[in-house]
């Protein structure tokens, strides 16, 4: 999915302004000319210049669509992208309660279903991958992956 360079440029300009405002609140180092605010302010100035140039370039290019998409035209593409992000976020929310193996199995099954893997393939593969990952990381590399419903039995 893509929006016009004009919108990207405007977003960069807004970001630059916010950065400058926050940086202005940083107190100077006593007795020094250059403190903690110098680099953020320079970054903000650079971003503002780039945002302006991007808008200028987009405006000069003449009539343009505000947003267009290559793969979004394909039905479901946006849903699959958002689904992937949502499932990763769901992992973060669920893992403290359900533990690694159950959460990873659920998330993987969800991801497989998003790309149309059949359910009877998706579930066993998801569980197998979750178990192998648990054993290799939690046992092999001693990473304390979150424990929950079933990890005590593994």
């Amino acid at each position: 999915m893509r929006v016009s360079d004009l919108i990207v440029g405007l977003l960069v300009l807004i970001g630059a302004a916010a950065l400058y405002v926050v940086a202005s609140t940083f107190p100077p180092i006593p007795g020094q000319q250059y403190g903690a605010d110098v680099f953020p302010k320079l970054t903000a100035a650079g971003l503002a210049a780039c945002g302006f140039l991007l808008c200028l370039g987009a405006a000069r290019a003449g009539p343009f669509p505000l947003a267009w998409a290559t793969w979004v035209r394909e039905p479901g593409a946006l849903a699959r992208a958002l689904g992937t992000i949502a499932l990763t976020a769901a992992y973060l929310v669920l893992v403290p309660y359900l533990g690694f193996v159950v959460t990873a199995s659920l998330v993987l099954t969800g991801l497989f279903l998003l790309v149309r893997v059949r359910l009877q393939v998706a579930v066993p593969v998801a569980v197998a991958v979750a178990l192998v990952t648990w054993w290799s990381f939690a046992h092999g590399l001693r990473v304390p992956l979150p424990r929950g419903l079933v990890e005590g039995f593994l």
Binding site: G35, A36, W71, E74, T84, I85, T88, V115, V117, L145
Partner: protein
């Protein structure tokens, strides 16, 4: 025993050799899968290297990146899809050879000349790094400031695409580096009250997000369909090695030299080296009309070049701690974690480790020939593995890897945020590499600037007063001014011509 012998003995241990072998296979697999880059292979490898001794960890990264860059040529040749961006320059040429039924010739050339290119780059690394390290001993904050800025400038202007978008990416990276309390004023910046942000944004989860998660989102969005492999049986790739070596040695040497030089340049790596070498090859060829029709000449020059660049990129990384490309940007992070802080002092305090690193480079490039030939045989089978199964598994690795960095879900949050950011950036043709360099070099740039200003009492001209600093400064300014000047000149010429 001298440092060189100690270095070699350090490598000849079963754990080091096994790690190098395993990382090589991992690199071959990831490199051979289109969309999964060498940098992504390295980013996914980093969490595992945490649990290794310093030398196997570094060895794993060297072997993995070298193999991934070579393996990118396999899907290029068989499917017209570059496995890594470093193969993109000559994908059409390789695929044209496949259409002529000469896939084995193209792949054979890729194995042989990738390995030779890597060995040449290593040779230059061995010669140049210790010499440069001696010069670098005299460097102060002024020189480091310019070196960091030069690396950032090269990242924006040498890569293809819009310099404005490159600059946006770079500034974004610099902003990310500013988050946290680790700054000249010791002041919490952009932490918004979060204790986790006080320590700054974790580099490794950010890398996994930018390089791996973003690709996962993109592939998932496109439905993760399986690839179509055209030529399934490959003949003998060793056929014609001798003849190619004799006929195209000047192209090979030129590719090696160009690749190493571009690799050494801070900020530019294997991708750019391959593009430049392919163009050079065509320009100086006696038969430029054959280019694009399945002619091996350009393939030899550019496949030599991208592997040579890989070793070249380690020169500034080891000597100055300035990454030569995005792979070494990640490697520098690992070197710090392992207590092998890059810089000239590493050559004095720890020469045996440096020689061990050189030995691993040689070993990895020698291993490339047998492993590469095996990979060619396995390549078609690998490409038939269903992508819709593979990509979700990669996402699970991203999650576990980001968590393992600090054993904290904060790493996964960082990975997710940067994954979405990287995805949106690439959708808008904003390159990712300058952002990564900005994150890596941001602290060095700010620290060296503020330290220099304290020394010089705020006098900006002090940046030009020392001879090396002045030269580096002039060079950096040239890199910034040159593209603007040439753009203006082109604009002035255009109306005259019109």
């Amino acid at each position: 025993m001298g440092a060189i012998e100690t270095g070699i003995v350090m490598v000849l241990r079963w754990d080091v050799i096994l790690t190098v072998l395993a990382a090589s296979i991992f690199g071959l697999v990831v490199g051979a899968i289109p969309g999964l880059t060498a940098t992504m292979a390295i980013a996914l490898l980093v969490p595992i290297t945490f649990f290794m001794e310093p030398l196997p960890a570094v060895g794993a990264m060297i072997a993995c990146s070298a193999m991934a860059i070579f393996a990118g040529d396999i899907p290029s040749t068989l499917m017209r899809m570059p496995g890594t961006p470093a193969s993109a320059a000559y994908t059409e040429e390789c695929y044209a050879m496949t259409r002529k039924g000469q896939a084995e010739v193209a792949l054979g050339a890729n194995v042989l000349f990738s390995a030779l290119g890597g060995l040449f780059g290593t040779f230059i690394l061995i010669l140049a790094a210790p010499l440069l390290a001696e010069v670098a001993l005299g460097f102060s904050s002024f020189e480091y400031f310019w070196l960091a800025l030069l690396g950032l400038a090269c990242a924006i202007f040498i890569g293809a695409g819009s310099p404005v978008k490159g600059l946006i990416s770079l500034l974004l990276g610099l902003f990310v580096a500013q988050v946290g309390i680790d700054n000249p004023g010791g002041l919490p910046r952009f932490t918004f009250g979060s204790t986790e942000l006080l320590g700054g944004i974790d580099f490794i989860p950010a890398m996994i997000g930018l390089f791996a998660m973003s690709e996962v989102i993109r592939t998932m969005a496109s439905g993760a369909r399986d690839w179509q492999v055209k030529q399934t049986s490959i003949g003998n790739p060793l056929k014609g090695w001798g003849a190619m070596f004799v006929k195209y040695w000047p192209q090979q040497i030129r590719g090696n030299l160009t690749g190493t030089a571009i690799g050494i340049l801070p900020g530019a790596g294997a991708d750019i080296a391959a593009w430049v070498s392919y163009a050079t090859s065509r320009k100086f060829s006696k038969t430029p009309e054959k280019f694009g029709t399945g002619h091996v000449e350009g393939i030899i020059e550019s496949t030599s070049s991208n592997n040579a660049a890989l070793a070249g990129a380690w020169v500034p990384a080891l000597v100055f701690g300035i990454p030569g490309d995005s792979i070494t940007a990640v490697v520098i992070g690992v070197l710090y974690l392992k207590g092998l802080n890059p810089g000239p002092m590493l050559f004095i305090n720890n020469p045996q480790t440096i020689y061990a690193v050189f030995t691993i480079f040689i070993l990895a490039n020698l291993l490339m020939v047998p492993l590469g030939l095996l990979a060619l045989k396995a390549g078609t089978a690998l490409l038939k593995f269903p992508r819709r199964i593979l990509i979700p598994i990669i996402l699970m690795f991203c999650i576990v890897g980001s968590y393992a960095v600090n054993n904290s879900p904060y790493g996964v949050v960082v990975m997710l945020v940067f994954g979405v950011l990287g995805f949106l950036m690439e959708e808008h043709e904003i390159p990712i590499a300058p952002c990564v360099l900005g994150i890596v070099l941001g602290k060095l740039l700010e620290e060296s600037f503020v330290t220099s200003m304290i020394k010089a009492d705020g006098n900006l001209l002090a940046f030009f007063e020392r001879p090396i600093s002045g030269t580096l400064g002039a060079l950096t300014i040239l890199v910034f001014v040159w593209p603007i000047w040439s753009a203006l000149r082109a604009r002035r010429r255009a109306p005259a011509a019109g």
